[in-house]
């Protein structure tokens, strides 16, 4: 096993509760794997043999419905744990994770979780906090889908992407990984057609700038206003 350096993960909030020695313990169970763009890290329904910490790149997590429709659950950004099905007592992954750019991830065997937990109880808290954040996100999305019309949902989705993976460029802030209209549609429960229309309209207004699998937000503040919408005050 290659020697993984503490510095890889010591700075991650995920491991902030661990001392140097404990971090070494975690690393001794981990290996680092490279996933090239488009490759599948784990698959919905497959046995949850590993869990992961993303070091570099971006993943898309997708759920497939019985009818074959896809819904984008989230994007994983560096520093996050993912594929943590075991921790929640699941034997199978509930979704599929795909690399949207070349990525590198720490891989840990699910079977090592109990012993890791025994030696580093702080990991349980990290896991709980992580899952808690995701639960909040999921509930937020439920609330948005219940109460907001499509345009505002798309605005919220973009703003969330900006927060997670926004990169400053000349024209504004760009989503730092390739993302299609279809992807946005699957995040917001609409169709790529509607997303395309909305983005076109926004582009006309100078709010965003489109492109092939590319979105640049030129005016985040105005987008925010739009996302908050007009409460029936």
């Amino acid at each position: 096993m290659s020697s993984l350096d503490r510095s890889l993960i010591a700075s991650l909030p995920l491991f902030s509760g661990l001392n140097g020695e404990e971090i070494d313990i975690v690393l001794s169970h981990a290996r680092s794997v490279r996933y090239q763009k488009g490759s599948v890290v784990f698959e919905q329904g497959g046995p949850a043999e590993n869990f992961f910490v993303l070091l570099h790149g971006n993943l898309q997590v997708v759920k497939l419905t019985p009818a074959g429709q896809q819904v984008v659950i989230r994007y994983v950004v560096p520093g996050e744990m993912f594929g943590i099905a075991v921790q929640m007592g699941r034997a199978r992954y509930p979704a599929t994770a795909t690399a949207v750019v070349d990525s590198v991830s720490l891989v840990l065997a699910s079977s090592s979780w109990p012993s890791l937990l025994a030696r580093c109880p702080a990991l349980a808290e990290s896991a709980l906090r992580t899952v808690g954040t995701r639960l909040d996100d999921a509930h937020l999305r439920v609330v948005e889908m219940s109460t907001e019309e499509v345009e505002r949902r798309v605005a919220h989705a973009l703003l969330r992407l900006v927060k997670q993976a926004g990169r400053k460029v000349e024209e504004g802030i760009q989503i730092s990984f390739p993302i299609s209209r279809e992807d946005v549609a699957q995040m917001t429960g609409t169709t790529l057609h509607t997303v395309s229309r909305i983005l076109s309209a926004w582009e006309t207004q100078g709010l965003v700038e489109g492109g092939r699998q590319k979105i640049i937000i030129r005016d985040p503040h105005r987008l925010f206003i739009l996302a908050e919408g007009r409460p029936q005050a």
Copy 2:
């Protein structure tokens, strides 16, 4: 503090990882409180001073949007943990819990969580499993809201209520707590009008039987078929 009996919770899956002694430790931190119908157990935005285990009755958990709209997140049934914000590293409750019938709950101070965890590490696993289940639920709902039309969402919601709180009665299976059309609407992201129309139609077909804050499912199987819908096979 009144003496709480082990038998109160020993049989709950939530505490299956604990031995008798550990259960006593948990109970020594707990008190039992009665909430009468309509009373608020905790409020969205309020300090997360306690966490709970429902012993008897039913609670409705609701999120309020900035614009004042309500969304029903879930119903709590006996045996479940709820209000577990601390466990996820939150200082405030993300939603409001209200008793829909007279209820009894175990109440534990959030401040006692760290020491409890130290003495009963198995609690972390219980908490993770609990949160994991909720995360699955939330994602399922996101997927449903993204891909299904209203009628099927309502069908799914009813089936879930039946599974959680179905009580066999003469005419079929009844949701065991009072629930209005409005409540169902807030669970499925629609309006009470639409829910009323759908239930009326179903009643005509002998699928369900309505009533004031009452729903009886007469033909669960046909409702299931309807919920699964016609995939574009």
